[in-house]
Amino acid sequence: MKCVGKVVKYGDNVDTDVIIPARYLNTSDPKELASHCMEDIDKSFHSKISGGDIMVGGENFGCGSSREHAPIAIKASGISLVIAKSFARIFYRNAINIGLAIVECPEAAEAIEEGHTVEADLDSGLIMDLTTRETFTAEPFPEFIQNIITAGGLVNAAKSGIIA
């Protein structure tokens, strides 16, 4: 699976309260959640991105609450991939479970700037900053997790009997 898009970049400890504030958790509608995604730290988020774009974060991306509404909001906003130096553990498993592509790559997350165009090959772990021509390699996922991702998330993995 390949993702190509323009980058929107944030810092360390992007928490689930800023990804989707709890005041909007009275709904689980992906479109409605997406409309409030990132609004507490970046009012221009939606005007900056278009479908397929890539979000880059620092350390501990997605820390805080277990709300799956956070990766759902990012995915429904049209973001195709999140690259971060590291992910908070619940966000990490939620993203895998709902089929939002994520890659942990500290070097890439450090070097890539907002507005750059980036191409990532999720099977090989190869990330290329097309603006600077720099390349980075991320550790591939363990096979067990790769199977969930390939199935399109935990729902499909459960349906197809990959895990049970």
């Binding site: 309260d17 800023v18 009275n26 507490d40 479970n97 709902i98 363990p142 935990l154």
Partner: protein, 421 residues
């Protein structure tokens, strides 16, 4: 291969003799729970998976606690969705208004998770039950759905950090100060993906409510779980609450840890986490004059009877400072009742506090105490992120019930020592 306490519990639930850090395993679950925010998403995913019936209705629990009594129509719809699912699936442990409490206070109280269990909950503070010597961790709604459907969850076996506690907590210093001190020391991702295991004579000196508070905030250091060694305090608590057989696991003497920290409880001071991260800690001795607008005493972190008792001890016979709103929230119906019988509710009301029915409301900026632009709140809750309790330009200072109560009286961030001479 020697194992940590968490690894032993996981191995036993995966049907394996031993496990090691990094291994991916499928575990059987003793409890799966969700709340009125996360369960509707889980129910949707459960149906998408094509399941009709939960694997075991006896170990699925739904607790309506975040936006109840329903704060608006959408919140009411979400509770309705949970209520209908509970009826359809014949769930015995469905907790609605009148029976509910804040989930992480209610679950140990009701004995729904016990010593030695593996439990998941679609709420990040599910790590609380490590205080009982159980492996418990927060997950998302899809994991909850998969857990309801199969009775299982996948885990990457965590490595661990060991905290060896010595001494005893001084007066006006509690489990909250200990965990804030630890998060200040190791940072909000200091234990990312790892277990935090608490042991040593100081750990055994801590009361069960203090242990619950410490484990509750393990997630605020990024941890997968927090866990206390089982001792007489655990067994005495479980004698009163558990309705199932306990299983006691102990870390191997030669278990490997990523790091070991020794903490002398005698040296701890009341500690406050400044905006906008729980790691921004200062002791009360390092805080200048910070005027406040609101105090919240409650939540899954500090809404237990002991927390209410500590707050009442400071507030009783005094008045909440002018221009401060003090909101007190006992975490369960039982705690509320015990506070009433002990006279705490009268103490709070006479001092000028409001006392609310159990709810997560203000902690996550839902309702029941939202902050306006520029306002400051001292809160016994667990997170102080940007906009957590209201306006993006409001500020939350995390503290213990004693510090929060003293701050309500003084109208500024203050320690209990300044109020109770």
């Amino acid at each position: 291969m020697p194992m940590t306490m968490s690894q032993k519990i996981l191995a036993a639930h995966a049907g394996l003799d031993s496990v090691e850090a990094g291994q991916l395993i499928l575990c059987s679950l003793d409890r799966i729970h969700g709340n009125d925010i996360t369960s509707p998403v889980a129910i949707r995913e459960f149906k998408k998976m094509g399941f009709d019936k939960v694997a075991n209705p006896d170990n699925v629990t739904l607790i309506m606690d975040h936006f109840v009594p329903n704060k608006d129509i959408k919140a009411a719809q979400q509770c309705k969705c949970c209520r209908e699912f509970a009826t359809e699936q014949e769930l015995e442990s469905f907790y609605d208004v009148g029976r509910m409490g804040i989930e992480h206070a209610l679950i140990p109280e009701e004995g729904l998770v016990v010593t030695g269990d593996v439990a998941i909950g679609a709420d990040s503070h599910t790590c609380t039950y490590g205080a009982l010597g159980a492996f418990s961790t927060g997950v998302g709604s899809t994991d909850m759905a998969f857990g309801m459907a199969t009775g299982k969850a996948w885990f990457k076996v965590p490595s661990a950090i060991k905290f060896v506690l010595t001494g005893e907590l001084p007066r006006f210093v509690s489990g909250k100060d200990l965990i804030l001190h630890i998060i200040g020391m190791i940072g909000v991702d200091g234990a990312r993906y790892k277990s935090m295991e608490f042991t040593g004579p100081g750990a055994h000196s801590l009361s069960m409510p203090d242990r619950l508070t410490v484990c509750n905030m393990a997630i605020e250091a990024g941890a997968k779980n927090g866990i206390f060694e089982v001792d007489d305090v655990t067994l005495a608590y479980e004698k009163e609450h558990a309705k199932r057989q306990l299983r006691v696991f102990k870390a191997d003497e030669d278990a490997k840890y990523d790091a070991v920290y020794e903490i002398d409880l005698n040296k701890l001071r009341p500690t406050v986490a400044f905006p906008h991260l729980p790691e921004n800690t200062k002791t009360v001795d390092e805080i200048g004059d910070i005027k406040i607008d609101q105090v919240v005493i409650g939540s899954c972190t500090n809404g237990l009877f002991k927390d209410m008792e500590e707050a009442a001890g400071i507030i009783r016979g005094r008045k909440v400072a002018k221009n401060v709103r003090a909101i007190i929230i006992p975490a369960t119906q039982d705690i509320y009742l015990r506070c009433m019988e002990a006279g705490f509710i009268k103490d709070f009301i006479e001092a000028g506090c409001v006392v609310s029915t159990p709810t997560c409301g203000p902690c996550l900026g839902g309702y029941m105490g939202i902050l306006a632009e520029g306002e400051k709140c001292v809160s016994t809750t667990n997170r102080n992120f940007v906009g957590r309790m209201g306006h993006v330009d409001s500020e939350v200072y995390l503290a213990s019930p004693a510090t929060a109560a003293a701050s309500a009286i003084m109208g500024k961030i203050a320690s209990a020592e300044e109020v109770v001479k």
